[in-house]
Structures are given as structure tokens and as C-alpha cells.
């Protein structure tokens, strides 16, 4: 990756149009390996899609070849870590103004080396206009695709693969947009407001019906607006509109009724006749007012038609797309308002973060049908995507124009398909995140600052993790820059990547680290800590076995919690661990809050343990080392001893010092060597180690590995144990399951603890039984 970036920046300067101001290594990335192209050329913006492969360094763990060696050596690490190259698939989408199309095509041609592609899928109104240019420049045959079917394919794709894709516009200042985690489902209405308006009823993945349209759309706003205000650019028109007062141009109900509208129960602010005043008054109207009036007229009209169609077809969700929307809050507000008004709140207006890309995505998918991209799950890469921009009033038109020059979306192909956890009580209403930072300004400020302050430590750790790499420091700096920029964007536009949450901040950091080839900065730390913890395993188990039943249960719970203190993701703990290398399990136990804990349903849990054993427990493990080995495994052992099967789910990819699936396999192997109970359980498949499909320090129970979900179903899991702050507090704290659950965490963040009414190292022990 670093090479790609470097070569990109080196050779691109000369071939790219000078007017392109973004660093060229940020746009058209990975062109070298691009395999398949699609292009969507709209009235003013071009969207290019391509599929490429990305070479990443990954840390692989494997056990030493023990043959002929003494395995019990004191200071030997428990397994081997090696860095390998891995190739992953990625979808790139780039959006730029049509002005740059020629320069961009030249750039692509110059960098397209390895492709065997012969055709390019093209859609959008401009596909006709630019066909010759594309064929000539790229030497690719243009396949034109139908605009609407591309749009719908794209829409279904983003709704399926990007959990926080759709949002409603609430129009209040602090939480302007509210994201819908699970809005997807058929049928729905898609209203595409391009030059004109198309209204489509989407009934299934590939089944849709064009049910109507209107000629009053974005082209009307732009064309009529240009005539009325002598303002040529669409964005400038919108800028004007956001400053205008439509009541100066529109005839309102109050203008018709005088003051009587109040006694009649009418709202005087309703528009009786758009532009009604410009007919009766003999005066000049300001551009701003005229633009605003025009915006209202068109938004209201589209909203009204959408409502009429929605009602006729009995639909209650309408997604809006097309360039007229283009993320402009003022447009979304007026449309939302119109929909609410005309449907009396029965129809919901939804917008999409990536509405601009739908056509390009759809065209790409059409061309890639033989690769069957829909059989995979894809995930938005926060590092490589621009996020949703806002035309907040603070940004002048020039600023917007510049920042809007290039916009990027990257989606990684995930190794395995992701599905809902079958044990979710109501998948439709499940929201993983506990606090929505877009709503909560105070919390947002705290966490953004917190992540920014922790950045130095992360950079240091990243550099230290690759002592042999000469460019580690340089890459780490780039990472710092990138992540700091992201935080800055999120400060200004918290909704840029959907709802802002601690999870999204953590995930963004992981994506950025990966981007600069720091796939697993904690691999060495984890290796060492696993080694240390493995050496302590037997004595811990012996001590536990010596206890009476009841004392043992409490000790196991405390062990789980104490282990959870060892979290490099928490700044407070990282500081302790950095300064005191001997900080161990016993010290951690002493740090723990005494009972009663902050949330303490231990007594109910103990009571439950006195009852019949669970059939199967699903455990989501958190950290490597002491947490997993001295906290989770003894607990697993006890469950096995009781006759409960255990599914131990660990992350597929690395995140902080969280244990990965492959590490858990090695650790389990080592424990099996020491402990017959675990050994037998592994052999008899009563203890199963699976991967979650995730590489996040948090946990989204609606996007879990399909294999895991199948196993949960097959084994009839009736207990879910979620451990750690990231998985049980930042996410899933309120998650309702259909079976018993145990949510355990130690609050390793003073601010969060204070917010929950506790203090640093307060304990959450939440045992829940679903209502019968």
C-alpha cells in the first residue's frame, strides 16, 4: 500500500489536470490493480467505480514447530508472529465534477497497467454524450446501462451493506440527521430527483416498477433558478436559497386571509400560491428570496407527488436520491417538511449517505454479475471514504466547491458474509450503540478529545510494533495526520459516517491504521501477554478448584472482571501498563470496585447457577492475555464442567489488544495441553472456537459471521456472555436478547464511569433474563 501511494503521488502530478487540488495519492487509488470499471455521468458530476485488490501486510500467528524442543521453556513466547502480505478486494468510488472528466480519463489510462478489462459499464444522462471520449481515452468499449435499474441496484447494495446508510432529516440544529440502523426491507419507494423526477416502487432485489414521474425537479430548480437569479451554478443557487425568505415572494395563507387565519385555525405560514406575490407586487425581489421560494416550490411539489404515490401503493418509506438532494440540508429539510405535511406524518422521508453513488454502484454491479458481488458482504472503509458533507451555513460556496471536487467511497469485501445474531429479540429495532454522539454534544466533545489525546500513544505503539521497518515512523505520521483529519471532520460534521459513536471512532482508527500498514500494532504485546498469562494458568485454576462451589463462582466472576482491566484501548489502563510492567492479575483484582458493584445482579446469576446447566453458552471474548487466559478460560472451564457447551467467539481481524480468532486457537491449544477438561471438550466439540467476522473493538450483533450464526442455531445457545467495555458498554448495553445474557465490564474511563454514576474501575455485572 505504501508503495502504491508513493508511486501514485510521484508520477501523477504531471498527467493530472492542475486544477485538481487534492493530493493525487488520495484519489484513484489502487488503479494499478483495477479490474473492472463503471461510470455514471450525471448533469454535473461524474462517478467512477472500479474494483481493485489491495495488498496489505497482516500479522499471522502460528505455533512453533515444537518437535524435539522443550515446550515448557520459561521465556519463550507461546507462538510465532510473522508479517505476511495479504490481498483483499476493494471497491473504489470516486466522484468529481464533469469538468475534470478528460483529465481524469487520461490519468486512469496512464495508471491502468494490469487490467484485462475490455468494457466499461456506463450510465447516467452523460453516458451518451461522453461515450466517444471514454472509448477513445480508455480504449474500453462502453456498455450503456439503464439509469433506473442501476440506481435501484445501487440503492439495494448500499442499504444492505452499509448499516448506517439511510437517515431522516430532523431539521434541528444539534442532531440534524438521525440514522436508521435497519431500515431495509421491501417494498419501498425510491424518488430520484435528477433533472426530472422518477418515482419507482422497489419490490425486491431485482424487481421494481416505475410508477410515475414529474418534470419539476432539479433541472427546474437549476434552469429556472438560473433565469431568475442570474446565478449559474447549482450549488450557488442552493447557497442563495439557504439565505432567502420565501415569504417575500410566495403568497401565504396569511396574505390571503389577513389576520383571520388564526381564528380559522389555519397556519398563516402555509404557502397559498408559490410566487404569488411576484405577480401582484410591483417591485424587485432579492435573488435569495426567489431562490428560496423556488426551492420550496419544487421540494413541496416532489414531496406531494411522492406522498400521493406512497399512499396509492400503501408504502410508508420513501428514499430520496438524485443530484437535487446531494446532501444539502436545506433541500432535505424542505422535502422532509413537505412529506410530513402532506402525509400527516404517515410517510417517512429517508435520505442516503451515498445517494450520489447509487448509479455508479449499480452499473458496476451489472458489469460484475459473473463475480457475483452480492454473495459477499461489504463494509465501508472509513479511512478511504470522504463521508457525508454538509452544506452548513458556515461554508461559503467557494469552500464547498473546493471540498466537493473529489469525493471518495471505498468498500472492502469482507471475508465472510455477515448476518444477524439469531438470538436478537428484535433485529429490526436493534441498535448496537449505547450512546449516539451525534445527539449528545457533551459526550461527543469528550470522546473526540479523548481519541485525539490518545493519538500520540497509538502512534508510538504503531512505530514500536514494527522495529524492523524503516518507514514505520513516516507511515505512523501519515496515520496520525489522517486520523486527526477524520476527527476534525467529525467535529464539524458528526454525521459524516452515520451516527457518530465510540464504535465508529474506534473502527475509523483501525481502518486508518490498516491503511498505513499497521495491521496489528499490538501483536507483540498480545504475544508477550499471552505467554505470561499461560504461565499463570495452572496456578489460577488450582486455586479456583480449591475453593468451595459458591466461593468459586464469585472468584470466577471477579476473575473475568479483573482480566478485563487489561485493556490497552483504555487510556487509563494503558498508562498503568506502560509504567508498571509488573502490574498483574492480583493487582488488577485489587483495583476492582468492591461489591455491591455499580450494576450488580451477581446474586441473581448465582441463583441461576444453582439451577440446571445451560445448554450452550456463546461467549464474546475481549482482550488477549490475562483477560482471555486467566479470566475467560477458567470461566469456560466451569461451564464445561457443568455440562454446558461453549462457543467462544473472537474477532476475525485484529483490533487493539483484542484477541483474534487465530490467537485464540493457539491459546486454546496450549491450554488444552495443560488442562484435560479443555482438551476433552475441544476434542468432543463441546468447546468451539469461532470467529465473529468483525475487526472492531466493539460488537455489532447484526453483522456477525454467518458460520457463527449457524452454529448458534444448531447448538441452541441459551446464554450469551459479552465481555469488555467496547462490547458490553459502548455497544450492546441495552441490547435485548431472546435468551439469558451476561454483560460484564470494568469501566476503565473515568468520564464514562462518572456518567454512569460510578468511578474508575467500577464494575458492570448485568445478568438479564428475557421476559417470558
Amino acid at each position: 500500500m505504501a508503495e502504491c501511494g508513493a508511486s501514485g503521488s510521484g508520477s501523477s502530478g504531471d498527467s493530472l489536470d492542475k486544477s485538481i487540488t487534492l493530493p493525487p495519492d488520495e484519489i484513484f487509488r489502487n488503479l494499478e490493480n483495477a479490474k473492472r470499471f463503471a461510470i455514471d455521468i450525471g448533469g454535473s458530476l461524474t462517478k467512477l467505480a472500479y474494483y481493485s485488490t489491495v495488498q496489505h501486510k497482516v500479522a499471522r500467528v502460528r505455533s512453533f514447530d515444537h518437535s524435539g524442543k522443550d515446550t515448557g521453556q520459561e521465556h519463550e513466547p507461546p507462538y510465532e508472529v510473522s508479517v505476511q502480505e495479504e490481498v483483499t478486494a476493494r471497491l473504489h468510488f470516486v466522484k468529481f465534477e464533469n469538468t475534470y472528466i478528460e483529465a481524469c480519463l487520461d490519468f486512469i489510462k496512464a495508471h491502468l497497467v494490469n487490467t484485462e478489462t475490455k468494457v466499461i459499464q456506463a450510465t447516467g444522462g452523460g453516458a451518451y454524450k461522453f461515450q466517444d471520449l471514454i472509448e477513445e481515452k480508455l480504449q474500453l468499449k462502453v456498455h450503456r446501462e439503464d439509469v433506473l435499474s442501476c440506481l435501484i441496484k445501487g440503492c439495494n447494495f448500499v442499504l444492505r451493506n452499509i448499516p448506517q446508510e439511510a437517515f431522516v432529516c430532523q431539521g434541528d440544529a444539534d442532531a440534524e440527521f438521525r440514522f436508521h440502523s435497519h431500515p431495509h426491507g421491501f417494498p419501498y419507494l425510491l424518488v430520484s430527483i435528477g433533472s426530472g423526477v422518477s418515482i419507482v416502487k422497489v419490490e425486491a432485489e431485482d424487481r421494481f416498477e416505475w410508477i410515475g414521474g414529474s418534470s419539476i425537479g432539479g433541472g427546474t430548480f437549476w434552469g429556472l433558478g438560473a433565469l431568475l437569479t442570474r446565478t449559474k451554478k447549482f450549488d450557488e443557487l442552493l447557497q442563495l436559497a439557504s439565505q432567502g425568505q420565501h415569504a417575500n415572494v410566495d403568497m401565504l395563507v396569511r396574505d390571503v386571509y389577513g389576520g383571520a387565519h388564526q381564528t380559522l385555525g389555519l397556519s398563516g405560514d402555509l404557502i397559498a400560491s408559490s410566487f404569488g406575490k411576484s405577480a401582484t407586487a410591483d417591485k424587485e425581489f432579492s435573488k435569495e428570496d426567489v431562490a428560496k421560494s423556488l426551492l420550496h416550490m419544487i421540494s413541496n411539489d416532489v414531496g406531494q407527488l411522492a406522498c400521493l404515490h406512497a399512499r396509492l401503493h400503501g408504502l410508508d418509506r420513501v428514499y430520496f436520491g438524485g443530484f437535487f438532494i446531494r446532501g444539502h440540508p436545506v433541500t432535505m429539510r424542505t422535502i422532509t417538511h413537505s412529506i410530513n405535511f402532506f402525509s400527516k406524518g404517515e410517510v417517512q422521508a429517508l435520505f442516503l449517505r451515498h445517494e450520489g453513488y447509487l448509479g455508479a454502484i449499480g452499473a458496476f454491479l451489472k458489469g460484475a454479475e459473473q463475480d457475483n458481488p452480492n454473495q459477499y458482504s461489504w463494509g465501508e472503509n472509513y479511512a478511504g471514504s470522504s463521508g457525508l458533507r454538509s452544506a452548513s451555513p458556515g461554508l461559503g460556496p467557494t469552500q464547498r466547491a473546493r471540498s466537493g471536487t473529489f469525493d471518495l467511497l471505498e468498500m472492502d469485501r469482507l471475508e465472510r458474509p455477515l448476518v444477524d445474531l439469531p438470538l436478537l429479540l428484535d433485529p429490526a429495532s436493534y441498535v448496537p450503540d449505547t450512546v449516539d454522539l451525534t445527539d449528545d454534544a457533551l459526550a461527543r466533545k469528550y470522546w473526540l478529545t479523548c481519541f485525539e489525546e490518545a493519538l500520540d500513544g497509538v502512534v508510538k505503539r504503531a512505530v514500536a510494533s514494527q522495529p524492523e521497518a524503516l518507514d514505520a515512523a513516516e507511515r505512523a505520521e501519515k496515520f496520525r495526520q489522517k486520523y486527526r483529519d477524520k476527527l476534525q471532520v467529525l467535529r464539524l460534521q458528526p454525521f459524516a459516517y452515520g451516527s457518530l459513536t465510540v464504535r465508529s471512532l474506534l473502527d475509523t482508527r483501525e481502518h486508518c491504521l490498516n491503511e498505513f500498514n499497521f495491521p496489528d500494532p499490538y501483536c507483540k504485546v498480545k504475544q508477550r501477554e499471552n505467554g505470561v498469562a499461560l504461565r499463570g494458568f495452572q496456578s489460577v485454576v488450582r486455586a479456583l478448584d480449591a475453593l468451595g462451589w459458591e466461593e468459586r463462582q464469585l472468584a470466577l466472576a471477579k476473575g473475568l472482571l479483573a482480566g478485563n482491566v487489561f485493556d490497552w484501548g483504555a487510556k487509563a489502563v494503558a498508562d498503568v501498563l506502560e509504567s508498571d510492567p509488573h502490574f498483574g492479575f492480583e493487582e488488577a483484582k485489587r483495583k476492582l470496585q468492591e461489591r455491591p458493584w455499580l450494576v450488580d445482579s451477581y446474586d441473581e446469576w448465582l441463583q441461576r447457577l444453582k439451577g440446571p446447566p445451560h445448554k450452550c453458552a456463546l461467549i464474546f471474548a475481549d482482550n488477549s492475555g490475562i483477560d482471555l487466559i486467566l479470566g475467560v478460560f477458567p470461566f469456560v472451564r466451569e461451564l464445561l464442567f457443568r455440562g454446558t457447551e461453549v462457543i467462544l467467539a473472537c474477532n476475525s481481524g485484529p483490533a487493539l489488544n483484542d484477541v483474534t480468532h487465530s490467537e485464540s486457537l493457539l491459546v486454546a491449544e496450549r491450554i488444552a495441553a495443560m488442562d484435560p477438561l479443555v482438551r476433552t471438550a475441544l476434542r468432543e466439540e463441546k468447546l468451539l472456537l469461532v470467529q465473529t467476522g468483525s475487526s472492531s473493538p466493539c460488537l455489532d450483533l447484526s453483522r456477525l459471521d454467518k458460520g457463527l450464526a449457524a452454529l448458534v442455531r444448531e447448538r441452541g445457545a441459551d446464554l450469551v456472555v459479552i465481555e469488555g467495555m467496547g462490547r458490553a458498554v459502548h455497544t450492546n448495553y441495552h441490547a435485548a436478547l431472546r435468551c439469558e445474557s451476561l454483560k460484564l465490564a470494568v469501566l476503565k474511563n473515568a468520564w464514562l464511569a462518572a456518567r454512569l454514576g460510578g468511578q474508575l474501575f467500577s464494575v458492570i455485572f448485568k445478568y438479564e433474563v428475557p421476559a417470558q
Binding site: G125, S215, G219, L227, G258, S274, F275, Q304, L312, N340
Partner: protein, 459 residues
């Protein structure tokens, strides 16, 4: 101001046929479109309330003056202009508006709002005349004859743009009556009937005049007069100067202005308005005007083959049982009512894109100053230079969705381009504005008709 020239709008009917074509070509249901007269029924309603609101019996939508003047467009002109009365539908006034509740309150007479109730009250207080249910027996008519209100008989609709005044001129005045008639009444009659223009802006639509009507037992002619709402203060002043209040007449008024100017009427003109609900009046008026016909002809008509200038013809429409029908009242804004029976209707929706929008935009785009001028320009323009058509995008028909190449894909869509902006004339712009507004009304009305299961749409 001159009354609109008869033949301003030559044969290819520009907008109604667009509307009609839209419905016809529309997918799904095929509601039929009927057009009703220039003077919207609101006036009739006014009149009917002033002269005995029981008149309406049938409800076909008709267009006054039909047939008489040949060219349908001219009717159109009248329609859009004269009916610039009602407030249209309140579109949401923007987020600031905050109002979610639409104007539902005027739904059916069953759930009559306060205004209507008040109006009802007034009717009862006034002896006999304008109350009464729709179907009235002979005897009742007789009794009314004796108790009919004093002349002059006026009905007033004060819209957002235009004020519409109907005046009943009794032609059966006996010598005895003439003798008794007060001087001011006589002068009003003379003034109104001997002129076709009043001041610089008032116009009597002579061609719409209904002759030899019998109203409340009196024979006479019904005159239609209009003037801009902004001249309302002058009108009130005139009422004061001519000492209307001494005539003890009842000024039945509807439209938003009935509320807006009520106080002025009272304080300046010493006139008490009898305020009547606008939509009630609209329906009554339509039913009435349909029942009397237009000087012997049907008031309601439709276009056959609207998309074809050659074959297009206007045919009278007569329906025995039209309900449920959709009534589209195009004033400054547009109101859409679903009418289930003569006294059961509800306001379905409306749009703020109406006559006021057409005229307002034309003023801004072309610098025209009168509605007639705007329409006249529109009749000469070519909207395809302004609008982006399906064929401009797809090179022909968009067969997948059955969209013909000539259909408008984006109104004013060509105006995104600088060159094309420079190439259009004011007439083209006026025409495009007209097409945009009418297409949109057609489209919304069609959707409403489908939602309401109405087979007929009356404009």
C-alpha cells in the same frame, strides 16, 4: 383594461389539452377530465348564497361560455384568471412553518368548522332567503318570493389575486318597482350594466353573462365582474361614497379576503359582510351553474383527442351520476376536493403551484404586467426550447417505461445551459411556465383521483 380578446388563443389548445393528455396517457386508472367554466363556480356559489343557496341541483362541471367562443384556450384564459380566487393549497411554508396539520378542517359539511357554522347562523337570521337545503319544494320557493332579499343582489369572492363580483340585474322590474327604487340602487344598476370596464382595472366579462335567469322568482341577467384584489380598498371606498349601507343589502362574500377585508368593510363602508365558506360556495356554484347551463348550452365539456391539434374538439359533457368526482379549483393556488354527493365533500389536497405561480413567474421571467399578457405570450411560445424532453436525453422514446420522446423530462431543464438560456424568447418562457404548472396540476389531480377512486376530474 380591455376584456380579453376572443381569439387570442388560437386553435391548438395549449394547456387544457396538455392536462387532458396527461391524464389520458397516464398509467393506471384513467380518470376523465372535464373542464368547467371560466368564472369558477365560486362566483356562482356566491350568487347562490346571495340569492337563495338552494339552487344547485346537479353537479356536472361545466365551463361557462363554452362553445360560444369557439377556441378552448380562451376559456382557459378565463378559467385561470377569473378563478384566481381561492387560497389554493397551502403548501408547507417551510420548516419555519412548523405546521403539520393540513387544512383539513373544512372537510365535509358534516364536520363544519366554525366559519361555516357562523355563516349558517347568519343565513338563518336573514329572513328566508339564503338558507334552506338544496332541494326545496315549490311552496318554499313561493314563500321565498315574498321574502326575498332587497336588491341589489351581489356576491363577492375576494381571492388572493382577483376579486370576483357577481351582480344580478333584474329585468322584470315593474313600473311600480321602478318608482319605488331608490336612486342609488338605480345608479348602481346603470353603472354596472352600461359599462364593461370600471376604473382602470375592473372588467365585466360580457361574454360570460347569463341571460334570462330566474332567481328567487325574479328574471334577470347575471353579470360577472372582476378586478385585482389590490384595488379592494378603492372598492370599499366606492361603496362608502355611493352609500351602499343605506340599501340594507347583504354583501355575501367568500374567499380569504372576506376575512381580510371584513373590518375595512365595516369601519370604512359601514357594510356587514356575510362570510361564507369558500369551498361550500365553490361546490354550490358549480352545481348551480351546471343546472342552469350556459345560455342554453352545457357548462361542462371535455376535449376529445387533446394531443392532436387537428382532431381536438371540445365536447359538452353530461353525466347522470358523476360521484365521486374530483374538483380541481385553480386559483392563485389550487384546491382539490373530492365530492361524494352534493353536500358531502372533502378537501383532498391542493398545491401552491397555481395561477398565481404562473403569473408570478411570468412577471419575473418576461416582465409582463397582466395575466392576459402572460397568457397571450404563452400562446405564441415554444416550450420545447425551454424544457428538456425525454428525447433530449434518450434520443427518442424511453420505451422501458413507455415515455414518449416528446414528454417533458425536466421543466426548464434546458435552461441549465447558458447557450440555451440565451436562445429562448420571453414567449417560450411563458409557454413553458404554463405547461409546467398545468402538467403538474394534471399530475397531482390524477393521483388524487386514483387515491379517491374518482372517475371524473372537473376543473
Amino acid at each position: 383594461m380591455e376584456p380579453i380578446g376572443r381569439e387570442v388563443f388560437g386553435p391548438p389548445p395549449a394547456c387544457w389539452d396538455w392536462l387532458a393528455a396527461r391524464w389520458r396517457n397516464g398509467r393506471g386508472g384513467q380518470p376523465r377530465v372535464r373542464l368547467c367554466s371560466g368564472w369558477t363556480a365560486a362566483e356562482e356559489a356566491r350568487r347562490s348564497s346571495a340569492l337563495g343557496g338552494w339552487l344547485g341541483r346537479q353537479r356536472r362541471l361545466l365551463r361557462m361560455g363554452t362553445g360560444r367562443l369557439g377556441a378552448p384556450m380562451e376559456r382557459h384564459g378565463r378559467a385561470a384568471d377569473a378563478s384566481a380566487s381561492s387560497a389554493g393549497e397551502p403548501a408547507p411554508g417551510g420548516p419555519e412553518g412548523r405546521r403539520r396539520e393540513p387544512l383539513r378542517r373544512r372537510a365535509s359539511s358534516a364536520s363544519a368548522p366554525a366559519v361555516e357554522a357562523a355563516a349558517e347562523g347568519v343565513r338563518r337570521v336573514r329572513p328566508g332567503s339564503y338558507s334552506g337545503p338544496a332541494s326545496v319544494s315549490r311552496q318554499r320557493v313561493e314563500s321565498l318570493r315574498k321574502k326575498r332579499p332587497l336588491f341589489p343582489w351581489f356576491g363577492l369572492d375576494i381571492g388572493g389575486t382577483l376579486v370576483k363580483l357577481v351582480y344580478f340585474e333584474p329585468k322584470d322590474i315593474t313600473a311600480e318597482e321602478e318608482e319605488e327604487e331608490v336612486e342609488s340602487l338605480k345608479s348602481i344598476r346603470k353603472y354596472l350594466t352600461s359599462n364593461v370596464a370600471y376604473g382602470s382595472t375592473g372588467i365585466r366579462d360580457v361574454h360570460l353573462e347569463l341571460k334570462d335567469l330566474t332567481l328567487c322568482g325574479r328574471k334577470g341577467n347575471l353579470h360577472f365582474i372582476r378586478f385585482p384584489t389590490h384595488d379592494m380598498p378603492a372598492f370599499i371606498q366606492m361603496g362608502r361614497d355611493k352609500n351602499f349601507s343605506s340599501l340594507h343589502t347583504v354583501f355575501c362574500a367568500t374567499g380569504g379576503g372576506a376575512y381580510k377585508f371584513e373590518q375595512d368593510f365595516l369601519t370604512i363602508g359601514d357594510l356587514q359582510l356575510c362570510k361564507l365558506d369558500e369551498l361550500d360556495c365553490l361546490i354550490k356554484g358549480i352545481l348551480y351553474i351546471d343546472s342552469v347551463g350556459f345560455n342554453g348550452r352545457s357548462q361542462c365539456y371535455y376535449f376529445e383527442n387533446p394531443a392532436d391539434a387537428e382532431k381536438c374538439q371540445k365536447l359538452p359533457f353530461d353525466l347522470k351520476n358523476p360521484y365521486p368526482l374530483l374538483l380541481v379549483n385553480i386559483g392563485s393556488g389550487v384546491s382539490i376536493l373530492a365530492v361524494y354527493s352534493k353536500d358531502n365533500y372533502k378537501r383532498v389536497t391542493g398545491t401552491s403551484l397555481g395561477g398565481g405561480t404562473f403569473f408570478g413567474l411570468c412577471c419575473l421571467l418576461t416582465g409582463c404586467t397582466t395575466f392576459e399578457e402572460a397568457l397571450e405570450m404563452a400562446s405564441r411560445g415554444d416550450s420545447t426550447k425551454v424544457d428538456k424532453l425525454v428525447r433530449d436525453i434518450y434520443g427518442g422514446d424511453y420505451e422501458r417505461f413507455g415515455l414518449p420522446g416528446w414528454a417533458v423530462a425536466s421543466s426548464f431543464g434546458n435552461m441549465m445551459s447558458k447557450e440555451k438560456r440565451e436562445a429562448v424568447t420571453k414567449e417560450d418562457l411563458a409557454r413553458a411556465t404554463l405547461i409546467t404548472i398545468t402538467n403538474n396540476i394534471g399530475s397531482i389531480a390524477r393521483m388524487c383521483a386514483l387515491n379517491e377512486n374518482s372517475a371524473y376530474i372537473v376543473l
